[in-house]
């Protein structure tokens, strides 16, 4: 199943946020979206996921989702968006409650999601009892439980410390390794973008336009090796050179405001 951004523009009141953004996320592909602060990355993701109606253009799906997918487009949120009154298990089960799955099947799905994210021993804990990294794991487990075709990740690691980020990045690499699931990964972290994505969409400063689309010419498995580090760093520098001037302008704009 492909996800298509088709000439998407958006404005909030009189403020143009996105301008004519178009690209396609092919089945199983991971696309990172980077750009200066305020360029509309998160707005674009909300539009792609159907949480926001664009002012112009539209988000489209092409092809059928996998048969067993309960929610083809599934978000992983920056702030985790966990229900604080529910245990880890209940949070993971939350999107399944209204589905046609019977209780046994639901439990099996939840158990599998908890196992894949290493949360089996924490199923009875409440979010307030967990670290930031563990909370995001719950968010990931909840997303996996509905067997998405495409994960929509809005800076999923930005609220975490660097060690936890590294561990969760390894989890993402592992989860996306088989290509069964695609992802749109919004981030301001260029290292994360080149580490995870097949392609990186670079947005200009507001109103966000597609400035460049950069392909990462190696598989995710190859990127873990020492040889790849130099190449990834070059790509990262290339991205930074694209963004740097506009990031400075965007920062200045925020200060002036």
């Amino acid at each position: 199943m492909d996800l298509i951004a088709d000439h998407i523009s958006h404005r909030f009141g009189g403020l143009d946020v996105l301008d004519n953004v178009s690209f396609t996320v092919a089945s199983g592909e991971v696309v990172a979206i980077v750009g200066p602060s305020g360029c509309g990355k998160s707005t674009l993701l909300s539009i792609l996921g159907g949480l926001l109606r664009p002012s112009e253009g539209r988000a489209e799906l092409r092809g059928s989702p996998p048969d067993n997918s309960l929610n083809p487009l599934t978000f992983v949120f920056q702030d985790f968006a966990l229900l604080p009154w529910c245990t880890v298990e209940a949070n993971v089960a939350f999107p399944l409650v209204h589905t046609a799955l019977d209780a046994a099947a639901r439990q099996a799905v939840v158990d599998d999601a908890l196992r894949r994210t290493g949360l089996s021993d924490f199923r009875g804990a409440y979010p307030k009892q967990l670290s930031g990294g563990m909370r995001q794991r719950v968010g990931i487990a909840r997303a996996l439980a509905v067997r998405p075709a495409i994960l929509l990740m809005d800076e999923p690691l930005s609220a975490l410390d660097s060690q936890t980020r590294e561990l969760l990045m390894e989890d993402f690499v592992r989860l996306l390794a088989d290509g069964a699931m695609g992802a749109v990964y919004v981030t301001h972290n260029l290292e994360e973008a080149v580490r995870l994505a097949d392609r990186v969409v670079v947005l200009s400063r507001r109103p966000g336009r597609v400035r460049e689309v950069l392909s990462i010419p190696m598989t995710r498995a190859e990127r873990g090796g020492i040889d790849a580090r130099g190449k990834l760093l070059t790509l990262q520098n290339q991205l930074w050179s694209l963004i740097r001037e506009e990031a400075i302008d965007a920062e200045r704009e925020v200060q002036d405001a």
């Binding site: 996921g49 949480l51 968006a81 529910c86 939350f94 999107p95 209204h98």
Partner: protein, 282 residues
């Protein structure tokens, strides 16, 4: 030969006095106080001390018992009321009025509060009416309600219900508004149906505010029942207190006040239990 760094970490006794003659001293602790919370025991001890002082002042004849009877006299008055059955008669009349009025006001307030919280149209209409009607002291409406509903229990219950309704509606829609939008968007992103979002996200998210509202409406109900009973009732704690005051029976008057205080405490305790059970996740 030990490294310079190692030497720096060594703390020989001679180093207690530095070369310039100064002696190391501990950093003064400055982080005391400004911590919310207090000892339960201190509150009870203070209460007992005040009652003891009050009793002593009464027994020693420092205070005229007509104006302020001693706690023992109030206890005796309460005992006599209990034995005669009058206590039960007055308390049960008040409890029925409070219970009915609070329940009607709460149910209506929760429904209207949720409607305002969830519907743009209901918000537009409801907030206008609530803003206009909430500030009116509800007891001022009792004569009108008597005119409409007769002189029975209905106007008193309606007065309480009205007082409870507005506070409940406000606390409910404020609670709904306070539910983090990201949780609602999360549920929508999983295609969770509207009714399930209300039941599983908005209701538990608004519950802290709703329970805080219950605490306020319980006080409002108590205030209104006493006022309403003072204006037009034969039985009830309010009527009893007024009657005792008219007859200068201050021991009985204060017995009524103590009963009201105990009632308020009991309701507060019940809400505490409810909060502990329903909001344990906080």
């Amino acid at each position: 030969m030990p490294s310079v760094r190692f030497k720096m970490l060594e703390r020989a006794p001679s180093q207690d006095t530095q070369q310039d003659g100064s002696v190391p001293r501990p950093v003064a602790f400055r982080g005391a106080g400004f911590v919310p919370g207090g000892g339960r025991a201190s509150g009870w001890i203070a209460l007992v001390l005040v009652i003891a002082l009050w009793q002593f002042a009464g027994s020693a004849g420092w205070v005229n018992p007509l104006f302020l009877p001693a706690p023992s006299a109030i206890a005796v008055a309460m005992y006599k009321l209990a034995v005669s059955g009058a206590l039960w008669q007055h308390v049960s009349a008040s409890v029925v009025r409070i219970g009915s009025g609070w329940l009607i006001g709460t149910v209506a307030g929760v429904i209207v509060g949720f409607a305002i919280g969830l519907s743009t149209l209901a918000r537009g209409v409801g907030i206008t009416f609530i803003s206009a009607l909430f500030p009116i002291p509800k007891i001022a409406l009792l004569p009108l309600l008597i005119l409409w509903l007769g002189i029975g229990e209905e106007p008193k219950i309606a007065t309480i219900a009205l007082g409870v309704f507005f506070s409940t509606a406000i606390s409910v829609y404020s609670g709904v508004d306070a539910v983090p939008r990201n949780l609602i968007r999360m549920a929508q992103s999983f295609n969770v149906p509207f009714h399930a979002i209300v039941r599983r996200v908005i209701w538990p998210g608004a519950l802290p505010s709703i329970l805080a509202g219950f605490r306020i409406t319980a006080s409002v109900a108590l205030l209104l029942v006493v006022s309403a009973e003072m204006i037009g009732a034969q039985f009830g704690i309010g009527a009893f207190v007024l009657q005792a005051g008219n007859l200068m029976q201050t021991d009985q008057l204060l017995a009524g006040v103590v009963i009201l205080s105990l009632f308020g405490l009991a309701v507060g305790k019940a809400i505490n239990v409810l909060e502990a059970r329903l909001l344990h996740w906080r």
